[in-house]
Amino acid sequence: MTTVSFSVNGKNVRADVAPDTPLLWVVRDTLGMTGTKFGCGEGVCGACTVHVDGKPVRSCTTPVSAVAGKQITTVEAVGATAAGHAVQAAWLKHDVPQCGYCQSGQIMSATALLAKNKKPSDTEIDAAMSGNICRCGTYNQIRAAIKDAAASMHKEA
């Protein structure tokens, strides 16, 4: 057991857990925030994506000890950022989710993309989003919503 301190959605938190515990399970089981999803446990499906200091990270393969002192953002609070707000609004407009289970991760990946790239090309969208699996097959709606979110951010900028 070890104590790790970091911030989640702007709040300082402490977790007393085994240091190899993945961030995902600290967020879900210790902190009780269930918006971040468990999909594969080996970092290949993207459902668990969170932001660590603004960068998209697979929380299921990130030991909590690796985020000591860092700032974590999850889907519960990503709407407070300009890109996150634009992404959620575009997702709503395009009615992107079907089952919705992967969408927390999709939204986190898309938001991270738009935060650093205001006008991603199709190739850049592929590169940023191909780590996120959707079994309902909403990829074309995700692509359209990302472009829409990018356009809306231009308008507001």
Partner: protein, 714 residues
């Protein structure tokens, strides 16, 4: 799962006043169950609740797994209720026999049946409420009912005065149920058939949507179960010392499926499970391999099977044919790989069981789990959450049995979670199948006779699967799920015979999106393409000519071909393939545009789909469901394969059981045929034509005929 029952005869309406002064209306379907739900007390239930604060809430007994049923069912009710769509909310019902699926006889969501089965009952529920609200308003105004009408959540008198449904709810609840309920003509629909935004989208954007994985209860523990790596294997002995010494581990208990490690959270339970030392008794399946299964199926397919359908004299016609064609097709076992891994939560007490989670069959759960826990069905309470994908997998209840047995053993609420590896290795697979086709063609290339013989496991009658309770049976020795799509052979053929041979390796098989159609349409549409080639005809024109007696097949075929630009020039190296199907009461045709790289890599550029699903409820959702099914079908066609060696499943996670990703996603276009037929299903029918359209396009591009999935060019 197409058991058509006359719903109107069995359903009648019940109403009752809400304690808080509102109107509640629902159907009661007493004693009609195919299963033993008659043991549960008869209880009136509500599909609709209107409260004084003007809130209209639809209570939906069907599970939302992405297919949009939590939007479609409210649309049906709101249409006849003349409700204000912007004020409609939807709520998941508890498990209760009153919510039995009229097609299935118990509360469950599957077989693309939700709209088909509820098209009439739900509209009647809305219409009855509307009439009672009108009666309440007429009573209030001492006016004639004929002078009042309902409109956007209000009853309006011809003089112009209005009362909202909220204002009328209490009085409406005291009105007698209308004797004759008249339903609107489709031409008068204001909501049904138009698009409507999904009601379940907002919570799916901010992490607040609750899936089975997100159930949290006071004192809840998490369990991960060690199950035999070999199908049907049993625990010989185990040593829990190391597992119990792991941080957070509270209990280690043996349950029916294996050994459960129960801890304070998932991670500790998983690590505890991995620290278990278990000796397994592998049993009879220890030498099972995919190669052995293929060889067995391959031998059997050359023999005669049980006749599922016969017309004319196929064997004589084949023997005397001018031109003969033969081919053997094959598909592997497939996992569902829902994004939400299997999991369920149970709290077992001496005289009650509470269950929470992602299930397609709360009605079956109530019945089966009552037997598992040794209580009465009415003592089992099931709360259905949102489902992170279902695709048939969540029609099963193995995960809920694990949760009940573990909770009972440790005396606390337990959330059983399958790591992804347990999910992929956990059986309940789409059955593998081999099918042999023989055709006799006349001088013009038209079929004189076709014989089809399929070999595979039976979902309906799998002796080693624990689902006697679901009451499925073979009909005259044939499993309808195994031959669906074959026995519906739609092409004009005077002599036709479909045979089936059951062979049952000890592998758990189960419903997988579009069930038997998932393999059988691939077989049929691949082989028909071969027939067209043998006849020297264009594959589209060949099908079109032979579908003359089947206008709905022909309609979607023509629309898909037209929208895809069939016959028009394509970029160099690109080619098109076409396939058509009927499943779950809907007709679908798809045109795939593909190219094959020098390295043999298949690139799918575009999929054009035409669907005739009768009258539409929500065209936007229909289009998405077609696209969703296409992606599911393409994932299987390109990558999907569960293999076994030494009785063990060789795949484990998305790295070795890959599915389609964003960078592989084709353009998809969906076109809906305008139709006045009764609604067909939409959750599955988009899937069956996807793989054969691609295979046929690969043939057109390369001259290479692939008869086996997943696609391998080498």
């Amino acid at each position: 799962m197409e058991t058509t029952i006359n719903t109107s005869r069995r359903n009648f309406l019940k109403t009752s006043a809400l304690a808080g002064g509102g109107l509640m209306i629902g159907f009661v379907i007493p004693g009609a169950s195919r299963f033993a739900q008659a043991a549960v007390d008869f209880k009136p239930n509500a599909f609709l609740r209107i409260t004084a604060d003007n809130q209209v809430t639809v209570i939906c007994g069907l599970s939302e797994m992405g297919q949009g049923v939590h939007t479609a069912i409210p649309m049906l009710i709101a249409e006849e209720l003349e409700a204000d769509w912007s004020k409609i909310k939807v709520e998941q019902s508890p498990a209760d026999p009153a919510f039995a699926n009229p097609f299935l006889g118990f509360q469950a969501t599957g077989g693309s049946s939700s709209v088909r089965a509820n098209w009439e009952p739900m509209r009647k529920a809305g219409a009855a409420a509307r009439e009672m609200l009108i009666a309440a308003a007429a009573d209030t105004w001492s006016a004639n009912k004929a002078d009042c009408h309902a409109e956007k959540g209000m009853v309006v008198h011809k003089s112009g005065k209005k009362l909202s449904y909220g204002q009328l709810a209490a009085k409406a609840a005291t009105q007698p149920l209308p004797a004759n309920i008249r339903l609107k003509e489709p031409k008068d629909f204001k909501i049904v058939g138009k698009g409507a935004k999904r009601l379940d989208t907002p919570p799916k954007l901010n992490g607040s949507a609750v899936f089975g994985m997100d159930v949290r209860l006071p004192g809840m523990l998490t369990a991960v179960v060690a199950r035999s790596p070999v199908a049907g294997g049993k625990v010989a002995s185990f040593n829990a010392d190391k597992a119990k010494a792991m941080p957070g581990v509270k209990h280690v208990v043996q349950i029916g499926s294996g050994v459960a490690v129960v801890a304070d959270g998932y991670w500790n339970a998983k690590k505890g499970r991995d620290a278990l030392e278990i000796k397994w008794d592998d049993g009879a399946a220890a030498s099972l391999s995919s190669e052995g299964i293929r060889n067995t199926f391959g031998d059997l397919v050359e023999k005669a099977g049980t006749v599922a359908l016969t017309q004319g004299d196929t064997n004589t016609a084949l023997a005397g044919a001018a031109k003969k064609l033969e081919a053997v097709y094959e598909v592997p076992y497939l996992a569902h790989a829902c994004m939400e891994p299997m999991n369920f939560t149970a709290s077992v007490k001496p005289d009650s069981v509470e269950l929470w989670g992602s299930t397609q069959s709360p009605g079956l759960l109530q019945l089966v789990l009552s037997q598992v826990a040794g209580v009465k069905p009415e003592q089992v309470k099931v709360t259905t959450t949102l489902l992170g994908g279902g695709f048939g997998r969540r029609f099963a209840f193995d995960f809920a049995i694990d949760a009940v047995l573990t909770s009972k053993a440790v005396g606390a609420p337990v959330h059983v979670v399958f790591p992804r590896e347990d999910d992929i290795k956990g059986h309940y697979y789409r059955p593998a199948s081999v099918a042999k086709f023989q055709a006799a063609l006349d001088a013009a290339g038209n079929p004189v006779a076709t014989r089809i013989h399929a070999v595979g496991s039976s979902i309906a009658d799998a002796g080693h699967m624990p689902y006697e309770a679901n009451g499925l049976k073979l009909l005259k020795g044939v499993d309808g799920f195994a031959v669906e799509g074959l026995t519906e052979w739609p092409y004009a053929t005077p002599n036709l015979q479909v045979e089936w041979t059951k062979n049952e390796p000890p592998i758990g098989v189960w419903f997988w999106r579009s069930v038997g159609h998932s393999q059988n349409i691939f077989f049929v549409e691949g082989f028909v393409d071969e027939m067209a080639v043998a006849a020297g005809k264009d594959p589209y024109e060949y099908r079109r000519a032979l579908l003359g007696q089947n206008p709905r097949y022909k309609g979607v075929l023509e629309l898909a071909a037209e929208k895809a630009g069939w016959g028009k020039p394509l970029p160099a190296g690109h080619a098109r393939g076409i396939a058509v199907a009927q499943s779950f009461g809907s007709y679908t045709a798809e045109v795939a545009e593909v190219s094959v790289g020098k390295d043999g890599k298949v690139k799918i550029h575009r999929m054009v789909c035409a669907v005739d699903c009768g009258l539409t409820v929500n065209p936007d959702i229909i289009k998405r469901q077609m696209e969703s099914s296409i992606v599911f079908g393409l994932s299987a066609a390109l990558f999907g394969e569960i293999t076994l060696k030494d009785g063990k499943v060789q795949q484990s996670n998305f790295h070795d059981y890959p599915v389609l990703r964003m960078n592989e996603m084709p353009k998809v276009e969906v076109h809906i045929v305008a139709s006045t037929e009764a609604p067909g299903g939409v959750g599955e029918p988009g899937l069956p034509p996807a793989a054969p359209a691609v295979v046929n396009a690969i043939y057109a591009a390369t001259g290479k005929r692939l008869r086996k999935l997943p696609l391998r060019m080498a």
